[in-house]
Symmetry: C4
Subunit: 384 residues, 4 copies
C-alpha cells in the first residue's frame, strides 16, 4: 500500500476530492424520493450539513435559521458572541473597516476577554427557538465551558483543535482527559479534527459521539503550506469511516463521522458521503448567505492558528439566501448553491435511497479538475 519515495522510505498515496468521481449504477431514483437525513444520538437532521463555528458565519440568529431548515450550526464559544454583549455592533466595525485596518481591528476585538455569562445567554437564545444547540471550544477550555454549556441547555458540545489526539503532552498546562470529560458530560461530545484509522479508533474509545475528520485537507491549504501537515479528504474520510465500521462491529456503538473542510462544491459534499461520511461540516459556503453576521465577509477559522496572522478578513460577497444555498434554485452553476438539491439529484442519479447507501457507491479515480481554468476565464472576462 506504499510507494518508494527514497531508499528505505515508503509513502502511501492519498487522494483528494478533485481526483475522484462517482459512478452511476443500474438503477436511478426520483430525487424527490431520496432521504438525506442523518441522526446523532437520537437527534435527527433533515440536512446532513453542519455549519462550522466561524464568527463570520454562525451567530445565534443563524443557528436558529439553519436549525429550522433542518441543519445544525455550531456556535464558537470563544468568539465575538461570548466576548461582547452586543456582537452586531462589533461585526459592523469589522465589516466597515477598510481593507488596511481590518486585520488590526479584528486583532484588537479578539483581545476582549470571554464573559462566561454570555455563554449561558447565547445558548438560551438558541434554545428558546426550539432548535438543537451545538457549541464549541478548544480542548484547554473544554472542562470549564462544557460544564457551563451543559447547564445552560446546550444539546451538543464540540471540542475542536487543528489536530486532536487522546494523549497531549505538556508540562506547562493540564491536558484535557477526553475519556473522563465524556463521562462527565451528559450531552453528546463531538471532537476533532483527526485523520487516520488508529487515531480515530483510539478517540472513539473515549466515549465521543461523533468525530470531525480533516487536517490540512486542501492541496493549497495553509496547514499544509505552513506546517507541511495534511491528508487529502477522500483518504482521510475513508480511513476514519473504516475505523467507525470496525468499532461499531466490535462495540455496537455507532460514532458518526463528519467530514470537515476541503469541500468547495456540492460535488465535493456528495463525494464526502460516498467516502463514508455521515455528515459534513462547511464554513465558507455559508459565508455567502444573506443571513450570516459577516455580511459577505469572513475571517479566521474556528481554531485560530498560531502561525497565521489572526484576523485576515476575506470578502466573499453575498450570493443568496440560506434557503437558496441549501435548496436552490441555483443561480450559479459552480456547485456553490442548492447544496441539498444537488445531493438529492446525485443520490437519485446514483440510485441510492439514503446516506447509508450513498456511503457504498462506486468511486473512481479521474483526472483532477483544473480550477485554474475557471479562474482564467473569469480573469479573461474581466480584461476583455
Amino acid at each position: 500500500m506504499g510507494m518508494w519515495i527514497g531508499i528505505g522510505r515508503k509513502a502511501r498515496r492519498c487522494y483528494g476530492f478533485d481526483e475522484v468521481s462517482l459512478v452511476p449504477g443500474k438503477v436511478t431514483i426520483n430525487p424527490n424520493e431520496v432521504d438525506t437525513s442523518w441522526q446523532l444520538k437520537g437527534m435527527k437532521f433533515e440536512v446532513p450539513i453542519l455549519a462550522a463555528a466561524m464568527d463570520g458565519v454562525v451567530d445565534t440568529r443563524f443557528a436558529i435559521a439553519f436549525g429550522r431548515l433542518g441543519g445544525l450550526a455550531v456556535l464558537n464559544l470563544e468568539g465575538i458572541q461570548t466576548r461582547y454583549e452586543e456582537p452586531e455592533k462589533i461585526m459592523r466595525r469589522i465589516i466597515k473597516a477598510s481593507a488596511r485596518e481590518s486585520t488590526r481591528i479584528i486583532q484588537s476585538i479578539y483581545r476582549e476577554p470571554i464573559k462566561e455569562p454570555l455563554i449561558k445567554k447565547r445558548i438560551e437564545e438558541i434554545k428558546k427557538a426550539k432548535v438543537v444547540c451545538a457549541v464549541s471550544s478548544i480542548p484547554q477550555k473544554a472542562e470549564r465551558f462544557g460544564e457551563i454549556a451543559q447547564k445552560a441547555g446546550a444539546d451538543l458540545f464540540v471540542v475542536q483543535s487543528t489536530v486532536i489526539t487522546k494523549k497531549h503532552v505538556s508540562s506547562e498546562y493540564k491536558s484535557l482527559n477526553l475519556s473522563s470529560f465524556c463521562k462527565k458530560m451528559k450531552i453528546p461530545v463531538v471532537i476533532g479534527n483527526c485523520v487516520g484509522y488508529d487515531v480515530a479508533l483510539e478517540l472513539m474509545e473515549t466515549g465521543i459521539s461523533a468525530l470531525l475528520v480533516g487536517i490540512g485537507p486542501g492541496a493549497a491549504c495553509t496547514t499544509r503550506e505552513v506546517l507541511g501537515i495534511g491528508v487529502p479528504q477522500v483518504t482521510a474520510t475513508s480511513d476514519v469511516a473504516a475505523a467507525r465500521d470496525f468499532y461499531y462491529k466490535n462495540s455496537g456503538r455507532y460514532v458518526s463521522i463528519i467530514t470537515d473542510g476541503g469541500m468547495t462544491t456540492s460535488g465535493d459534499i456528495c463525494k464526502a458521503f460516498a467516502c463514508g461520511a455521515d455528515a459534513v461540516m462547511v464554513g465558507s459556503a455559508f459565508a455567502r448567505a444573506k443571513e450570516v453576521p459577516g455580511k459577505g465577509f469572513h475571517w479566521g477559522m474556528a481554531t485560530p492558528h498560531i502561525n497565521l496572522p489572526r484576523g485576515t478578513r476575506i470578502e466573499v460577497g453575498i450570493s443568496g439566501s440560506l434557503r437558496e444555498i441549501l435548496f436552490g434554485p441555483a443561480k450559479l452553476d459552480d456547485g456553490s448553491q442548492n447544496l441539498v438539491g444537488a445531493l438529492r439529484t446525485s443520490m437519485g442519479s446514483l440510485g441510492v435511497k439514503n446516506i447509508r447507501e450513498m456511503q457504498l457507491v462506486e468511486i473512481i479515480i479521474a483526472p483532477a479538475i483544473k480550477t485554474e481554468g475557471k479562474l482564467f476565464q473569469q480573469l479573461r472576462e474581466k480584461i476583455t
Copy 2:
C-alpha cells in the same frame, strides 16, 4: 484493476481524452482512400458525427444542411422548435438580448408549452428534404412524443437524460419501460446517456439500436462539479464498446456506440473512435457554424439540469461554414475545424481503412495537454 484510496476502499483509475494519444503503426494510407462512414439499422452516413439536440445548434434548416453533407442532426422535441410556430423570431430575441437580460428572457421563453402539432410539422419539414430525421425527448415524454414522431415520419427516436438506467424508481410518476417502448416503436430507438459495462449490457437487451455514452465526461464539467458524478470518456467508451462486442458475439445484434460529450478537438474525436465508438455526438463544435440558428450563441444542454441555472447563454462566435467545420480548409490550427478531414488524415497516418479498424489502433497514456497554456497565450495577447 483498482488502487487503494483508503483503508478497505479501492477505486479504479479512469482516463480522459487529454491523457491518451494514438500511435501510428507499420502502414500509412492515402487519407483520400479511407472510409469514414458508419451505419445505423441500414441507414448509412458518410460523416460519423451526430449533432447534439441543442436549440442553439439544431433547427430544421440545420438538420437538412447537415444531413445533405452526410451527417445526422438530432432535433430537440422539447425546445423552441416545438414551442413556437416561428422559432426564428424567438431566436432573434435571445441573440439580441443584453448579457444581463439573457438568462431571464431564455427562462421565460421555455415556459411556453410544447405544441404537439409542431412536432409533426418540424419532422415533415425535415423529411421533405429527403434526409434522415432524428428527434429526441426525455424519458417521461418518450411514449407520447415517440408515437407522434413515428407517425410524422421520423426515422430515429432518441431518449436522452443525464443518466439513463433500465430501472428508474419513482412513486410520483410512471417510469418509462424501455423494453416495451422499443417493442412498440417501429423506428430505431437510441438512448442515453450511460457509462459502465453492466449497465450498457442491460440497456442493449431492451432492444435499442444505439447507445449514447458519456456522463460528466469532462474534467471541469458541471455534472462533476455539482453532483460529484462523472466518468472520463476514454474509459467510458472502452467499457461500453466492450459490452457491445460481448453482446454482439452472444446475440448477433450490433448496437452502435455513440460517444457524446467531452470532445473539444478533432483529435478527441479521433480518440473516441480509437476507444471503440461507432460514431460521436458533438454540440459546441457546430455552434460556431454560420448555419446554426444560435448565430454564434448557445445555451442549455439537450437535457436541462435541475441544478443548473437554465438559460445561461454563452457566446462562441462564428468560425466558418458547416462545410468548413466538417471538411476544411481549416483556418485555425486548434482542432476545431475540418473535423472529417482531420479524421481522414488521422486514419491515414494510423494506417486504418475504416472506423472498424480505427477501433483497434494502439492507445498510449501520455501526459495531459495543458489547455491553460493556450488560454494563457490568448490572454497575454489580449493584454499586450
Copy 3:
C-alpha cells in the same frame, strides 16, 4: 507494461521530457574536456545538432554558417529557396507583411512552382563553402529530387513526412519504395519521422543511414490536438534507440537516431541524448538567431500539414547570434541559449566523456515542470 484504461483495453504509459530528469553519478569531468561530436557515415560533426528544414531558419547562408560552426543544416527543397531565384526578396515580403495579411501572402508565395534548376543551384552554393550539404523532400518527390540533389553534389538526402512507414497504401499515386530508393542513392539517406521499435527496425532494414524520431512529440502539439496522434519523446527516443542497438548487434550496421521535435530547452536536448539519441534536430531554437532568413519570424513546418492553415507566421524575435545560441555566453537563463555549452556542462556534471556514454546516464521520473508558472510571471510583469 500496460495499464487498464477500459475493460479489455490496455495502454502503455509514455513519458515526455518535462517528466524526467538526469542524475549525476560518482564522477564529474571538466566540461572543456568532453567530446560532443557525432558521426554519420564517416562525416564527423562537432555539434550534435541538426537545423530543421524550415524556410524561416535554413537558407544557403545559414547552412554554410552553421556548417562552419560544426553543425548540419537541412535545406528544404520544397520551400522558398527552390521556388524563387531571389528568396531574400520574398522573405522581406513575409517579414514586412502586417499580421493580418501575412497568412494570405505566405499562402500565395508557396503557390509558385518549384524550379528544378534552383535545387542544383542552392546545393552548389552550399558546397562551394566546403560544408556538408543536406537537403530534404517529401516522399512523393524523393525519387526525382533525390537524383537531382545527388548529381548536384549534396552529401545527404532527407525524406521527411509527419509519419513515415515502409508501406504506404495509395491507388491515386505511386508510393516511394524506400529499399530501392536507398539502393539507388549513392549518398546517405535519412528518413523520418517515426516512432516505435518495430517500425524503426523495419525502416532500418531498408538501408537508411539515420532515422528522425518524433511524431506529435509535445503535450500541446498540433498533431496531437488535430489528429489525436503523438508519442512523448522520452519513450519514442528510447524505443527507437533500443531498435538501433538490436539492429546493430544483428547486422553490424549502425543507424543513427536523431530526435526531432519536442525539445524547448537545452535541458531537453541533454535528456534526448540520455534517452539514446545520436543527434537532435531543432528548429525554433535557431529561428531566434541573427543569421536566419526569417529575421525573428518563422512559419510552417518542414512538412506542411494538410489540416493546418499553412502559413501562420509566428514572431519569436532575435535573441543573439548563432554562435551565442550554440556556444554562449547565455544572456537568458531559460535554456534557449548556449546549447552546446549547456550540453558540455551537463556531460561534465554527469561524468560522461562522449555522446555514447551520455546515452547511458541514469534517468529518473520527476514531477513535470509547470511552464504556465513562467508564462504567468511574464503576464504579471506585463500588467503591473
Copy 4:
C-alpha cells in the same frame, strides 16, 4: 523500484516537497516543549537552519546577527566581502542601479580580484562577536582559502559546487583531493552539493563532517531547465539520509545531512526534516529580512553557473526582521515567516520531541499544491 519509460529502459519515480505531506499520529505535544536544536561536531545550534552563502544575504553583520539568534550563516569567500574593503558601498551601487544597468554593473563588480587579507579580516570580524564562523569556496580554491580561513579562526569550512563528487577528471587543472583536504584541515569540512546513496557514502568516507543535499531540486529550477539535471528533494534527502544511517552504523561516525534548496515555505522545511535532514540551508527566505546587505534584492547563487547570465538581480522586497522571519509573529500566511515557530508547531502537532524523532514521522504522497492558483489570484487582484 523503476517504471518502464521505453523499451529496455527503466526510471525511478522521485518526489518533491509539493507532492508529499506529513501525517499526525496518536500524540500531540505542546509546541513550546519541543527541541529544534541540532549539533555539528560539538557545536550546538538552537535554530536548525543555515543561511546560504549568497552575497545579497550573508555579510559579516548578518552572520553575527543570525549566529546570535541560534543559526549558522555561511560567508562566501569569493564574493563582494573578500573583493572589496568597503562592501557596503558596492552593495549600494547594486541596489541603486536601474533594472537595465544592474546586470552589467554586477558583472563588472565581480571582476575585481579576491584579496586574501580580506578573507582573514572578515573571519576575524565574525569571530570577534563570539559566534560560530562558517565560510565557503569552490573546490578549486578550497586548498588555498581553507588554509587562510583556518588560520584566521574560522570554525567551519564549506566546499560547494553544483555537483560534487569524490573524483573529478581534468587535465587542465589539479582536482581537489577531498580525503587529504579533510585530513589537512583541523576544522570540520562541509561539502556539497550531492544526491544519491552511493555518491553520499563515498563522500562520507573522505572524512567530511556534513553533506549538503540538493542538485536541481525544484521542478522549475534552472539546473533542470538548462542542464536537464535534477533530483526532487524528498527523494534526494531520503536517499542521502539512508546513506548517513548506514555509514553511522558501520563506522560510528555521524555525518550530518543538510538539505539545501527547493524549499519555498516553512512547510517544505518541516518536510525536509521528515525526510531525514539534520538541518536545512535556505537563501531566498532570508533575502527579505531587514538585516541583509541586499536590502530586498538578491543576485546569483553561492556557486555561479557558467550557463547562467551571472548577475541577474531579483527584487524580493523586505518582509520583516530576521527575528520575525525566524520566530514570528507571522504577518503573512504563506509560510515565508516564523520558520522556527512553524517547525515547533509542526513538531507539536506531529507529536515529536526533537529533530531525530521528526526524521521518522509518516510521509504520504498527496496531490501537488498548485501554486499557479495563488499567482492567479494575485494577478486577478492586480487587474480588478
